[in-house]
Amino acid sequence: MRSLTRVGASLAAVVTAVALAACGTPSTATTSGKQANLSTPKEKKGTLTMVTKFADPKYAPYFVDVTKAYEAANPGVKIQLEQVGDQPYKDKIRVLSASKKLPDIYFSWAGDFANKFVRANLAADLTSVIGPDTEWGKTFAPAALKAFQTNGKYYGVPIDLDAKYMAYNKKAFAKAGIANPPDSLETLLDDCGKLKSAGYTPIALGNQYGWPAIHYMTQLNAYAVKPDTLSKDYNPATGAFTDPGYVTALTQFQSIVKQCATPQANGLSHEAAQANFLNGKAAMHYLESLEFLALTTKGGASKDLADNWSFFKLPASSSSPGDTKALTGAPDGFMVNAQSENAALAVDFLKFMTNAQNAQKLTADIGWLSPVQGSATSSNSFPQLQEALTDMGKASQFAIWLDTVTNADVANAYLSGVEGLINGATTPQQVIKGVQDAAAKAKKQVG
């Protein structure tokens, strides 16, 4: 018993010692304003680390191929490529940055997600190499570069072009007596009635994890609210969300849910809903151009569907004060660690990844549109993909995903609010009240 007490006492002493030793500040990213040297290295040598969110077996091989090709061309370079899934990436990159183990090259969404790295001085300023006037910069679509621009500086290398479109089944539209895809929200709602009478679910919607509904809101907000107000509200330092357009957008979404969407959409995953479109039970499905491949025979769709689908941009209401030419979507990109000693080599590799040959390979291998101009040709892509590219060219600007462009608190208020809207548990006014409260909280944190 005596020795037990002694063990207990020593244990307590050690715990206290550890506690005292731990009393520093939490270990987080350093903020030295060091600017990485980005000029092409004379001798390409060293080990590059890279983390992507493309672990999906459909997409992963492309990145493996490109890194191998670069290693083959530069025998002195070794690339440690790590690919994780979409959701796990969000945890992993945070843990890596908090523990100062950020890789040389890392994936980022455009919007506030990218800006977090910029604010913490973890993203190298690439303006000198990828700015729109530079040799490399000129090879990209300007809108794609702009998505990674903060305070006039360019921080990201766009890797893909992605936009949200409403795919529709031409056969279903013909059967319901609809000649042309709708050109206004009102017509869309009308068409939903016709499609229902013809025995179809008008729009396949699966909102189990919340983000599919958020993509509708991104587009509807851009239509219903003036661009200046929108960018002011999406900035955590100035967000208020008091414009009546936000309630209008939510009400419009509510109408789409009631008149068009799969009932009980919160209980279905996006993929389960997509299956309804693929098997011809649903007439429309709102999806990203990155997913277009799934609607082709190469991607596993039936020939019947693959030959009979087209797409349109979610139409604006006839009385929309916002930017009706805005298009929901954004490029994804890679950023370079500002503290990396291999920053120059990293930039060289990214140049290789986005050269004309690899950009065409991206479209040919995994069906993504590359932001590198002229990369989609009739030989490496399918017609809908080329149409999408033309349509993106017509867009005035990308409306970046609402859940990545805004502060996380605001995004959460939208996520849970819109889920309630689908269930019929909340009203548009209640949702926007929640968003306003979250915006006030975010303003306090930033300010």
Binding site: K116, N121, G210, Q264, L268, N276, A408, N423
Partner: protein, 294 residues
């Protein structure tokens, strides 16, 4: 010699002690400290905010909903994984024929060896509002009004997850009870039968008190498990819809990794720690007091 022995025993204990210190006690202390800061993975200057994070928790309706969901989870688990499992174990031991017993025990135990993620995905299909077995079965029975979008409605999401968890765990706890019941000397039952006690009377008068130690253990494990639940919720709803199925674990995760509020997440972790500590301490107290020797 005596002194040497004592030091030798210390050498044996030391590696385990060091591991415990580094991987258990140090993180606990560090977490406590971090819960007093406002910081995230990207912040340059963590700001000391005292008990602000705890105040935020007290005023956060979702924190309270998560706590309530954990409590509901614990109470339901108690009813099924302790109460129902004990009855199931007794029935298996007392009523079922020897040959069938083994097969049934295996059947009940199988869900426990399925990974939670797999079970979660499996149940997501069962609960699918369009093609799910549950809604189809209800439809076939003419109970159309009972059909729900089980994981998509705030009223049913949490219960659907809890139901899956019970399905998975009942077999496991029942097997633990079977082991405990088998250790009860048969003479007790024979004596009771001679005294004229029926099987139900024997269950309450002999089985229940004799497996008390196991009951205490399973109760503690079940309750603390219910407060640590994470995977089931993450796989099936990720806390939705409208945060209706958030539990403390998922709310912590969301704040740490999606909302970039590590300080608040640490505060939630501290709350979870104290709840489970309390449960653990009561286990030690109760199992000492109630140990039966024979």
């Amino acid at each position: 010699m005596h002194v040497l022995n004592r030091w030798r025993s210390w050498v044996w204990v030391l590696p385990a002690l060091a591991l415990l210190l580094v991987f258990v006690y140090y993180p606990i202390v560090e977490n406590l400290r971090l819960s007093l800061y406002s910081w995230n993975a990207f912040s340059a200057h963590p700001v000391f905010v005292g008990l602000d994070n705890y105040k935020t928790a007290a005023e956060d309706p979702i924190f309270w909903r998560a706590l309530r969901n954990n409590t509901v989870f614990a109470v339901t688990s108690l009813v099924f994984q302790v109460g129902f499992s004990l009855v199931l174990a007794a029935v298996l031991e007392e009523f079922v024929h020897q040959r069938l017993r083994g097969i049934l025990r295996t059947i009940y135990f199988i869900p426990a060896v399925i990974s939670i993620t797999v079970a979660g995905i499996l149940f997501s299909f069962l609960y699918n509002p369009q093609i799910g077995l549950l809604n189809r079965a209800l439809g076939a029975l003419g109970l159309v009004s009972w059909q729900h979008s089980w994981l998509g409605e705030p009223g049913t999401a949490m219960w659907s997850i809890i139901a899956m968890s019970q399905w998975q765990s009942i077999g496991y706890t029942a097997i633990l009870f079977v082991v405990a019941i088998q250790r009860v000397p048969r003479e007790f039952y024979e004596a009771a039968r001679i005294d004229g006690a029926g099987r139900i009377r024997s269950f309450f008068a002999i089985t229940v008190p004799m497996v008390r130690e196991m009951t205490t253990l399973i109760t503690i494990l079940t309750i603390s498990g219910a407060f640590l639940v994470f995977n089931e919720v993450m796989v099936m709803t990720a806390g939705g819809p409208s945060n209706s199925s958030q539990v403390l674990g998922t709310w912590l995760y969301r704040n740490a990794f999606l909302n970039d509020d590590m300080g608040y997440a640490s505060a939630i972790a501290t709350v979870i720690f104290f709840i489970t500590l309390l449960i653990g301490a009561s286990q030690i107290y109760l199992s000492r007091r109630r140990r039966i020797e024979w």
